[in-house]
């Protein structure tokens, strides 16, 4: 299997609003008015939670199939905690991003606790977005 490349192009429609194009899709990102935006879309850190849920869903179904149990669906509740001091330049004590992300996964499945515990371990291990958040990822950002 060779590497997959994923790409996106984006432009700022305003200081807080970004339009992202990836394949045939357009994604609108904004901030609520309380954070200086026009509230036309979820904000960047909410999209991080969304990406994580989407990834856990795909991988969750794949692993259920590998383990051979019926998975009718999954619900997710996600929460991220972020101290805004560094972002807003008022303090550099804490990190800029989420200090903690928590996800509650509620599978609707024909499997006992032991099987679901094993399932969850494998899902965490093989979910790309979970990997990119929990482990350091090389991000090169350069002026073009």
């Amino acid at each position: 299997m060779s590497d997959l490349k994923f790409t996106a192009r984006a432009f700022s429609e305003s200081p807080a609003k970004t339009v992202v194009e990836t394949r045939s899709f357009k994604i609108i990102i904004d901030e609520p008015e309380s954070l200086g935006g026009t509230d036309h879309g979820a904000n960047p850190v909410e999209y991080v939670l969304a990406a994580l849920a989407g990834c856990l869903n795909v991988v969750g179904h794949m692993i259920a199939s590998e383990l051979g149990f019926v998975l009718r669906g999954i619900e997710f509740e996600l929460e991220g905690t972020l101290h805004p001091g560094k972002l807003f330049g008022t303090s550099s004590e804490k990190r800029a991003g989420y200090s903690e992300i928590s996800v509650k996964i509620i599978p609707d499945a024909d499997a006992n606790e032991e099987v679901l515990a094993k399932w969850l371990e494998i899902v965490k291990e093989r979910c790309p977005v979970s990997d990119n958040l929990t482990n350091p990822t090389s991000v090169s950002i350069e002026l073009g």
Copy 2:
């Protein structure tokens, strides 16, 4: 400044399609048919690129304002490289997520190279999504 909490709820509409609700917004995540989905939305790792662009835009404008130069807009080109072996369970040699993300930032600004280089350094440092990708983040995933 106290911590901010961001939340999302999500459910699987199909094995590859996830509907995410955050505040008043609905985000559709899917996979292309080549990756087992119905292609109704960008996929999870494309949303990671989108979140990063959105974050760099907001922080880019904030820092330009702090440094006192005019920033009319920013364009972004993003690319992520992912080896699918671990995700699909065919190999565990390489990590599950992006091995590398690269971002080209093209600012339309009244600022010289030196100022833009300084700007970019501060943007990278204070962008929450960039921080969550480049540094390890605690992600707790539990059965609910």
